[in-house]
Subunit: 168 residues, 2 copies
């Protein structure tokens, strides 16, 4: 299910554009600089919007990279505008589009580690289920929540996007 779940992450990253459009519309109607929203946060000890988007991107990008063993593009975390964040998101979507089901076939035999895990490892499946999915959606939902909290006109449909529904 790696392919489907990373495909969904790609779709969710694409949905952020609609939230940014709504954020920019609010900024125009209220006559403020839209990029000021990038520094908004829900609590002083939580990350601001710009960092929430960066981590959402990195969780998907590094998740795919670590699970498959394929190298990931590097991003410098220097974005200061919606335009720059859009470019980052597009770069991660383009990276995720290069993966095939075959890339994930060797996942079962690989382990994952990170510098701060002090030498410990996780199986790729545990890493994906316990770390990638919960973290990706945590930062994605916080991105949405910060915008909504600041009056941006977005709803659940903008979050989920179009569902693959059909007539029976």
């Amino acid at each position: 299910m790696y392919t489907e779940l990373f495909g969904q992450m790609k779709k969710q990253l694409g949905q952020i554009d609609a939230w940014f459009v709504a954020a920019e519309a609010l900024a125009v109607s209220k006559k403020f600089d839209a990029n000021l929203l990038l520094e908004m946060r829900l609590a002083p000890d939580q990350f601001a919007l710009v960092r929430q988007v960066q981590i959402t991107c990195d969780t998907a990008k590094l998740g795919a990279s670590r699970i498959t063993g394929r190298e990931a593009p590097s991003h410098a975390d220097t974005e200061k505008t919606f335009a720059e964040l859009r470019a980052r998101i597009a770069s991660v979507i383009a990276y995720l589009e290069t993966f095939t089901a075959g890339d994930f076939e060797s996942a079962a035999t690989r382990t994952v580690t990170q510098p701060r895990w002090e030498g410990k490892v996780m199986s790729t499946a545990d890493y994906f289920v316990e770390h990638v999915i919960p973290n990706f959606y945590f930062h994605l939902a916080h991105t949405f929540a910060i915008l909504r909290h600041n009056g941006v006109n977005v709803g659940k449909r903008d979050y989920l996007g179009t569902l693959s529904q059909r007539l029976p």
Copy 2:
């Protein structure tokens, strides 16, 4: 991967207890009724905390029910206290614990529908990936965000819980 991802949802539901403990500790230290937090929300047109928890529970419960065709326990959405929400969460965790890998084996041949979908259906896999997972984590993260926004002392470790790490 249904078993692992529902297992993770069960774990995430269990993590909420630690957030409630921290919420109650804040209420004691600031001398307010902890249950007042249940009515807090991030925006006037978003659900309050109590509803976020109810929907988090229902998304996992109904997801497992619809994917497997097994009946789900009914919950009346009448909770007014942390104690009542804890009971609801415990009920859903107990329900999820009754599922085996075998329950999900027939998922591939089943479709899912909901009254508001106007007769349309989704494959169980699409429903799970596009609807259950994104919605479950959306409302889980909003539960966390509302508490954090109101000064409750919770962090990412309380969100994720213990990871399955081991020495290589």
